[in-house]
Amino acid sequence: MVTVIFIAIASLIIASAVLVVISREIVRAALWLIATFFAVGALYLLLEAEFIGVAQVLVYVGAVSILILFAIMLTRQHERHEPAWRAGPWWIALAGVIGLAAVLITTIGAVPWRLTDDDLPVSRAPQLGTALMREYLLPFQLAAIVLLVALIGAVVIAMEERRRRTPTLADDIAAQRGAADRAEDGTP
């Protein structure tokens, strides 16, 4: 029973992924990507990793995909149907695919996966939280710092943008108020 469901979900993932690459329209490709993320979340649920599955949907489908869609929609207004470049001859692509497949399959096959038929240790959200705060505290904090850097960078870029704008009435008034304050303080 589980195998049947797994095959269904896996084929959905593979089909969506293939369609992402094949789609001529980039927005459709993005939407197939969303389908892929969703199916991967379903796979996590099948593995009874509820937290990871729901987090996958929340982060990837709810945030990353929307970001990707925003980026696409705000930048690619002129080219809709024509591809950006023409692909080369088909046998070059085939050679590349076979080579990559060979590398991936041999590497994955060489890894000693601990496949067992026993029940997996249940990792629920409390255990995940405890692990993040105890054994994996340093990576957690580093990830937080990376996010903080990204946030500050975004704010800095937005500030730059604001300075480059033509000043509005509000900016004039604010500048004037600043000058009046400085005059009041008696600073030279």
Binding site: R28, E50, F70
Partner: protein
């Protein structure tokens, strides 16, 4: 879980494979929830139109059916029979799927909510996170609608809607996080169970009757969190004062511009159903869910079914009360401008939500940690549980109130000396 067993006993299929019985059970429950959702949506439209009308000194629709109850059905028939116009340049599949992607996640939300004592369809351990995840999927539906219409203004409207949704999702989830800290878990079905007892002190006072009033909103953390959550729920459901996407004086109808007939009706249904689901969620997390006077008494007396029914009644009362509050706010409050909307989310709600989480952490520490965990800095072991709750309530009340006043003060524009407009 209990429900599953009950229904399988009702069905009594001899020698049926287990998966078939389980599938039928789920189908029945899903059917009940979806039909209930549809009926709720029709009632919601009726209540909203009549209530807003009375507040505007008029009557509202009262012709179709007794007191106009069947008006929603008439509107449904109208939407069904309208021509389904698809712009020629529109991306057909994206245009078609967008309403579905907007509505389906909201129906999925209904599965995790505890509708009564022992009445939850799926008891997910990560219920709160699931709700957050699923509500962000419907945002993708909005983007698809805005893009698929191939209409620049629909696209702009969709982007504004998404910006609003994303901006308000963050304080929403962080407000919920405060309660997750209080309850020690993300399971939604557990939350009403923890809100038994008397206001503020819950079940910590031995011998106190179980009035079912130990709601989180009576605690300082829950009060601030509840207010933040309710405001963010208004924004998530795109209701006034955050209804820029659906207001006709803004970019026509925003992402819904190019939709007519049944597809528009689906967006409409999605909005009302989302608002109801968020009202139920508010009730579950902050107002005690199905807890209320009498439920525990009935359960102890052995009348489990009656207790479940009464608990369902309590939940519906609270959810409908919150929905009516949404309606009153819609009648009373003008629309926020889009920059006011964004600044309200980022500059007011988010800092308050973060402070609320810190307060919640303090509350947990004061009420549940032992002195050793405190590093022997605080003599918490010497206090009775209800005393600890009292102390924690005092501390968190001071912190929350102070934070609220501080946030309001620093965001206030300086009382300006008159500014000379440059000639």
């Amino acid at each position: 879980m209990n429900r599953t067993i009950v229904i399988s006993q009702i069905l009594v299929i001899e020698q049926a494979p287990g998966w078939l019985v389980a599938a039928l059970n789920h189908a029945i429950i899903a059917g009940v929830l979806l039909i209930g959702g549809a009926i709720t949506m029709m009632l919601q439209v009726w209540v909203e139109r009549r209530l807003i009308a009375r507040m505007q000194d008029r009557l509202g629709p009262n012709r179709v059916g007794p007191e106009g109850i069947l008006q929603s059905i008439a509107d449904g028939i109208k939407m069904f029979t309208k021509e389904d116009i698809i712009p020629r340049a529109a991306d057909r599949w994206v245009h078609l799927l967008a309403p579905i992607v907007a509505l389906a996640p909201i129906a999925m939300m209904l599965a995790v909510l505890p509708w009564g004592r022992g009445l939850v369809a799926v008891d997910l351990e990560v219920g709160v996170l699931y709700i957050a995840a699923v509500s962000s999927i419907s945002g993708v539906g909005l983007m698809m609608a805005g893009w698929g219409s191939r209409n620049t203004f629909a696209l702009l409207g969709a982007m504004r809607s998404i910006a609003q949704l994303i901006a308000y999702e963050i304080p929403l989830i962080i407000a919920l996080l405060g309660i997750v800290l209080l309850t020690g878990g993300m399971s939604l079905a557990r939350m009403p169970e923890l809100q038994a007892g008397i206001p503020l002190f819950g079940s910590s006072i031995p011998g106190a009757p179980d009035l079912g009033l130990g709601w989180f909103i009576f605690t300082p953390v829950g009060l601030l969190g509840g207010i933040i959550f309710f405001i963010c729920a208004l924004a998530e459901g795109e209701r006034t004062p955050f209804d820029i996407p659906e207001a006709d004086s803004e970019i026509v109808a925003g992402y819904m511009t190019e939709y007519s007939g049944m597809k528009f009706a689906v967006f409409y249904i999605a909005q009302y159903l989302l608002n109801f689901a968020l009202a139920v969620l508010s009730a579950v997390v902050f107002l005690g869910g199905w807890q209320g006077p009498g439920v525990a008494w009935l359960a102890d007396a052995g009348l489990g079914a009656a207790a479940s029914l009464l608990s369902l009644l309590w939940l519906l009362l609270k959810a409908w009360g919150l929905f009516m509050l949404m309606v009153v706010i819609r009648a009373a409050v003008p629309r926020l401008r889009v920059d006011q909307l964004m600044s309200f989310a980022w500059k007011y709600l988010l800092p308050l939500a973060l402070v609320n989480v810190a307060s919640a952490a303090l509350w947990v520490g004061l009420t549940e940690w032992s002195s050793i965990e405190w590093g022997n800095l605080l003599p918490v072991d010497g206090l009775a549980p209800w005393q600890r709750i009292g102390v924690a309530a005092l501390v968190t009340a001071v912190i929350n109130l102070g934070a609220t006043r501080w946030v309001l003060r620093i965001n206030r524009a300086p009382a300006a000396a008159p500014v000379v407009v440059p000639a």
